[in-house]
């Protein structure tokens, strides 16, 4: 299970955010405890009796020395509050500046496009032939700054990997950017953090942080065209894929399927999840998804497909060979 927690930072930015957060947590926690202590003291302390009269009549006569003491206490409280808030202000300003200071020449650029309800991921390269496009799974090398260019095709989404950074919105018709760097290898889960419709809750992705060599190997594998079918069944499966409505939305590089409405399936079998982190990528889940995705993720754009059982099995063989 990939980690998804802002409390265990895996990069410098998440580290700064969490140290700011802990400071605020401890300070406000202490303030809360002090206020509660005063409240309890006020509740518990007995009222002073009124010159021998009945104890339940409060003493409301002005008392100059007490008044002065009280105003000192209140003034000290106000001054402390202002100082604390000012410290918070300065600290969060410094953190905000530090978060934005990652601009470096030697960086990787990843374009993320939000769709209802999945993530299109493409790695920018000056040479178009070296551009890799995938979905719902982002691989980045450890220790190298990454520039994310974020946009959307439909509504506002928000890109959030709690272990690495705060949130940045994906706005249709506008490119937002965010930088992040991961110092610790691992698999981190991110998800959409801006309500974007029916399946907002099922719009997740994973960020795989790995050493550069492993990343490079993954990148080269993703760059390759789809694997040619090797068995009869896989060949039949490709035929089913190319002669059914699949091709109207999906791309498998190396075949005639080149539509970009749905996720790129060139290396679908190499990904860990299906349907934007909704399902584990297994044969059974894939079959259920192809045949009746509306049962699994109601409202998603994938229509039901009533395939003949033999055709479905062949199609699954083919899709599972797309490593």
């Amino acid at each position: 299970m990939p980690s998804q927690s802002a409390l265990s930072p895996a990069g410098p930015q998440a580290g700064r955010i969490i140290s700011l957060w802990w400071m605020m947590f401890y300070v406000t926690g202490a303030v809360f405890l002090i206020v509660m202590a005063f409240l309890m003291a006020a509740l518990v302390r007995r009222r002073r009796p009124y010159g021998g009269a009945a104890a339940d009549v409060p003493d409301v006569r002005p008392e100059p020395s007490g008044e002065r003491r009280m105003s000192h206490v209140v003034l000290t409280g106000v001054a402390l509050t202002v100082v604390i808030l000012f410290v918070f202000l300065v600290r969060s300003y410094v953190t905000g500046r530090a978060l934005d200071s990652l601009h470096e020449q030697d960086h990787l650029t990843v374009k993320v496009v939000g769709h209802q309800w999945w993530w299109e991921v493409s790695y920018d390269n000056a040479t178009a032939a070296y551009t890799v496009t995938t979905a719902n799974e982002i691989h980045i090398p450890v220790g190298r700054p990454v520039l994310f260019k974020l946009s959307s095709t439909d509504v506002i989404h928000s890109f959030w990997v709690p272990n690495l950074h705060g949130k940045t919105d994906l706005v249709p018709g506008h490119e937002n950017v965010t930088w992040l760097k991961a110092d610790r290898e691992g698999v981190y889960r991110g998800q959409c953090a801006e309500f974007c419709g029916h399946q907002h809750a099922h719009m997740a992705f994973t960020v795989v942080v790995e050493p550069y060599e492993k990343f490079k190997a993954w990148y080269d594998a993703q760059l390759a065209a789809a694997q040619e079918p090797s068995t009869e069944s896989q060949k039949q499966g490709r035929q089913v894929f190319l002669s059914s409505p699949c091709v109207m939305c999906h791309t498998v590089r190396g075949t005639d399927a080149g539509s970009r409405v749905g996720p790129d399936l060139t290396h679908v079998a190499s990904r860990g999840t299906l349907a934007a982190g909704t399902l584990e990528n297994t044969r059974g889940h894939l079959a259920g998804w192809v045949v009746d995705s509306q049962q699994i993720k109601p409202g998603n754009r994938m229509p039901p497909n009533n395939l003949e059982p033999a055709d479905l099995q062949a199609l699954l063989d083919y899709l599972q060979s797309l490593k």
Binding site: H198, S243, S244, P245, V247, M248, V261, D292, Q294, Q295, P298, G299, P303, P304, N305, N306
Partner: protein, 189 residues
Amino acid sequence: MRLARRLAIVFWAAAAALTSASCMREERGFRVSPPPSGRVQTVRLTDFQPGPAQPPEVTQNAYEENAYAVSEGKRLYEQMNCVGCHFHGGGGIGPALMDAHWIYGSDPSQIFSTIVQGRPNGMPSFRNKLNDDEVWKIAAYVRSLSGQVAKDVAPSRSDDMSGPPPESATEKKPPVKSGGIPKSAEMPK
């Protein structure tokens, strides 16, 4: 005073009834069963027939009672480039869809088969390009263009610029059978 109170009660009851009706409109049937596509194998596209007249085609398309499905049909109508020829219903290269004239029939099953099979003079076949579910949604939307579906189901706005009034404001036009090919598709003289 009493009358005013009664009127208020009637007003609030009517408001509540209207509100609950509008809630129903937002109910999304994601797995509504459209008619079986086998139905389309037997559909008649013409009224010409030997012998005594037979009743016209009548098919119930469950998607015509589902605002979400009709709006999905509208989305597909744009994405599949139906607008390329039929425009937003007004027609141009292909026949108009917002008028009362139907060359191959106005029944949902007839529209379904027109989309799946294609028709002479330019209508391409979408067989194996769209699956049945999507075609039934498009068929529902196509009928909403001429006001054949209920007004609270028909789309009430477009996501982009569009000339005609919204489908939900379209008056129902009783279908008229018209033969031949659209004027625009005739051979140039």
